[in-house]
Symmetry: C2
Subunit: 229 residues, 2 copies
């Protein structure tokens, strides 16, 4: 019988923020698959490490690129290697940060495996922005407000910031100071809080973004809420 592929959201960083279901499947699976790339740094594997000791691990190259042909090639290759394992009857658990349905590289592998006629399931996880809100001890969104999740490394940041409602700016990375400057230009700096590495080692909450002078890393999220914080 063919195995099943599970795309496991391991949550934002703290291993205790994995779900009971993720922990159960990780303990029971035959093979753990995890992305490997310069930017990703095996973070998902570090979170899950305590649950998968001694299991065979399949590291898959998932380059962080916007080159479509290169991406397609790496996703096809990853899907191919996973389908081989499924054909052998193995259960494969693919680790993905946060939740697998939100900006996950894993999704591109998942849909390929589905398209080849295999059973592949998503196991939801806690998204990083929920952890960032908890770290800042604030609500993301209340009442009748809309909530906009905006990938701030792309060009839509200006448009997104102008929308009515609460905002989450993700993946700003090294352009975080430019995003801060856009917030200042729109008069929204006092509505914003930055959370770096939420629930990971080195977590930092910055409430005065004017004081921010060092570009923060990939795991930085800015929360913007209407009205003063």
């Amino acid at each position: 019988m063919r195995g099943i592929l599970y795309g496991i959201g391991v949550g934002p960083g703290d291993p205790e923020l994995m779900t009971l279901k993720a922990a159960r499947i990780l303990r029971a699976c035959d093979v753990v698959a995890a992305p490997q790339s310069a930017g990703n740094d095996k973070t998902a594997m570090a979170i899950a490490a305590g649950f998968v000791e001694g299991k065979p691990v399949l590291y898959l190259d998932m380059p962080m690129t916007r080159d479509k042909a290169q991406m397609d090639q790496s996703h096809d290759a990853a899907a191919g290697r996973i389908c081989q394992l499924l054909d052998e009857g193995k259960t494969v658990a693919f680790l993905t940060l946060g939740d697998p349905s939100i900006y996950s590289t894993y999704w591109y592998v998942h849909k390929r495996v589905l398209a080849r006629g295999y059973d592949a399931q998503l196991v939801p996880g806690v998204p990083s922005f929920c952890a960032a809100a908890a770290a800042a001890n604030t609500a993301l969104v209340e009442g009748s407000e809309m909530l906009h999740i905006i990938p701030a490394s792309h060009d839509s940041t200006d448009e997104g910031l102008s929308l009515p409602g609460a905002k989450v700016l993700m993946k700003a990375g090294r352009s975080i100071l430019q995003v801060r400057d856009k917030l200042r230009a729109q008069g929204k700096l006092n509505q914003a809080v930055l959370v770096e590495r939420a629930t990971m080692d080195g977590q930092r909450v910055v409430r005065d973004l004017d004081a921010l002078d060092d570009p923060t890393g990939y795991f930085s999220i800015i929360l913007v809420k209407e009205g003063q914080r």
Copy 2:
């Protein structure tokens, strides 16, 4: 010593989608607090039941109303009763569906307890829309798209539906057929999938919204993704 209040996101419905942290705090806490209202139907307590057996439970009236004075009164009263327990040195775990930072009624209690100088912490959970995506076996959002979370029971639905990017329509409740009609009018019906009671008993995924003729319940979510599904 004063106790601590934890706002526990118990996730979307399946008790296995609670985090390990939520399970640990629920097992360790002195008192469990849970909202009680006509609409809510003690759902959060049903999810957590297996972890809090034998614990004292404080049910708090949280009427589902848009009357500001009535809401303020119930939130003040809830905060007052919780602070009494914290003064007695009790640890209180307040159950909230999904994640406590996203449209949670609990937040109004949390901020009051904080304002009175007590220690209150948020424990993030899996939001219902992540569970809906997993149930429909689809991504919510990819690449450089924005993701808009829209409370569809309010008047901003038309505006929200016109935004570029992926959308999650929440809390449509009995107006779900009107929301469907708006999607049809905007030519977006083939981009939409409805998930009812994601990960709960009676889960249903409706991919042909044209075929929907019975108003679904409070726990219905419509996912809209650009391009055809």
